[in-house]
């Protein structure tokens, strides 16, 4: 079981829920389990360009992206990265 934390605009799209406890082997599994999966993954199933995912504080893109394993992980945190100032 891993806890997924989403930012406030995603929580607003999920009946106000900001935390989700999901069974997942990978980051991709965890994101697909969310009621806002379509907002963090694009129509081809890739992580949206301005969405970052941190697994216990480490950027998932540096460790396999959606394939990043979650064995032993406690928290998956989704962060909206805005380009520019």
């Amino acid at each position: 079981m891993v806890r997924v934390v989403v930012p406030s605009m995603l929580a607003a799209q999920a009946d106000g829920r900001q935390r989700f406890d999901v069974e997942a082997n990978t980051v991709g599994d965890a994101l697909h389990a969310l009621p806002v999966a379509d907002l963090v993954l694009d129509e081809r199933g890739e992580l949206r360009r301005h969405v970052n995912v941190y697994v216990d504080g480490t950027d998932a893109r540096e460790s396999g992206g959606l394939a990043c394993p979650l064995a032993g992980a406690d928290e998956v945190r989704i962060v909206a990265m805005l380009s520019g100032g």
Partner: protein
């Protein structure tokens, strides 16, 4: 009758209400807080609100509310077929179907797609005739993208509808969307060597007159045009007293097919209004245009985008990129009903009993 305006902005949807004098407006919002609402509409068939809501991070969505905007449901993810090689960039317009087809909705977006829902906006199916149009490789993207808009249903002929594409031009179907015929004869496209191509024209907004559906009006990148034969031929009208050919939006009078109102902008490299906030009206089918100045600022460098105007049988309405909402009141006087909204992207109005 009181009026409700759905005002889509860069940062959410606002509901504006006024009594029949339209002078004092109440503001509720933002709904869909933080979303860029490119268009929002109330479906008169069942009272559902629909919004084309986009976000830089979270992508393109359609959202709907059956409780007056208190709670919203997202449609299934908007997709284009994998074999098209295209993916959705934005949703631009969401349009209810005909009175006799409850649950049918149309969705227009970028890159130049038209989708249809038959379940009240939960699932959407892209129109293949548009996606695979034989002229598609001659549709040049505009600065805002390659976007389809101006879904217009002919009330007199259930199989006929129109869409417009910037850039691509006007297209008409007479068989319910199976095939689409370019309708751009005599419409100039002065950015290319052949200024009268079959397709490629940059239509900014297309409107069908509801009482005379064979009559179409368009504000084009290159002029204002009227067609009296369902788009088969077009007459250019901006040489007749308008300060310039360029603008985005257009408004009509449901009771008088000879009336049209445009808001010209200095040419496209500049993209702001001329003569202050200059709004121009024709009452003779485009032969002459007069400025409607009463109540509008004489010093202004505003911009009014494609969907940011509306009309009903009583009045006209528009919103600016500087967050001001204007309504026309008795005696042809404009009132700035609300100011300091986020940049306004869309306006739709409906009679309201609240």
């Amino acid at each position: 009758m009181a009026v409700l305006a759905l005002v889509g902005t860069r940062k959410g949807l606002f509901l504006l209400t006024a009594n029949d004098r339209r002078e004092r407006w109440q503001v509720e919002g933002p709904l869909l807080d933080g979303w860029g609402v490119y268009h929002a509409v109330l479906d008169e068939r069942d009272g559902t609100f629909y919004a084309a809501a986009n976000h830089l991070v979270y992508g393109a969505t359609v959202q709907r509310s059956t409780d007056g905007g208190k709670t919203w449901r997202r449609s299934q993810q908007i997709r284009l077929p994998e074999d098209s090689g295209l993916t959705v960039n934005a949703t631009w317009q969401v349009q209810p179907g005909r009175p006799g087809e409850p649950g049918t909705m149309y969705l227009a977006g970028d890159p130049a797609f038209l989708s249809r829902s038959d379940d009240g906006g939960e699932a959407w199916e892209p129109n293949r005739g548009i996606l695979e149009h034989p002229t598609r490789d001659r549709w040049p993207p505009s600065r805002g993208g390659l976007l389809l808009h101006s879904v217009q249903l002919d009330p007199s002929e259930t199989e006929r509808m129109y869409v417009a594409i910037s850039g691509g031009g006007t297209f008409r179907t007479d068989d319910g969307g199976e095939t689409w015929v370019p309708k751009n004869k005599d419409v100039e496209f002065d950015l290319v060597p052949d200024p009268y191509p079959e397709v490629g024209q940059c239509v900014h907004k297309l409107l069908l007159h509801p009482a005379r559906p064979e009559r179409l009006w368009q504000q084009n990148h290159c002029g204002v045009y009227r067609s009296d034969d369902r788009g088969d031929t077009w007459e250019r009208l901006d040489g007749n007293g308008l300060p310039g050919p360029f603008g985005f939006t257009i408004m009509l009078d449901p009771g008088d097919p000879d009336v049209a109102v445009v808001i010209p902008e200095k040419a496209y490299e500049y993209h702001y209004t001329v003569n202050g906030l200059g709004v121009y009206r024709t009452q003779d089918g485009g032969e002459t245009w007069d400025r409607m100045a009463d109540g509008l600022p004489k010093q202004a460098w505003a911009a009014v985008v494609r969907e940011a105007s509306a009309f009903d049988s009583e009045s006209l309405y528009f919103g600016t990129q500087s967050g001001s909402f204007f309504a026309l009141t008795n005696g042809d006087r404009w009132v700035e009903g609300v100011r300091h909204l986020p940049p306004i992207l869309s306006v739709e109005v409906t009679a309201w009993s609240g």
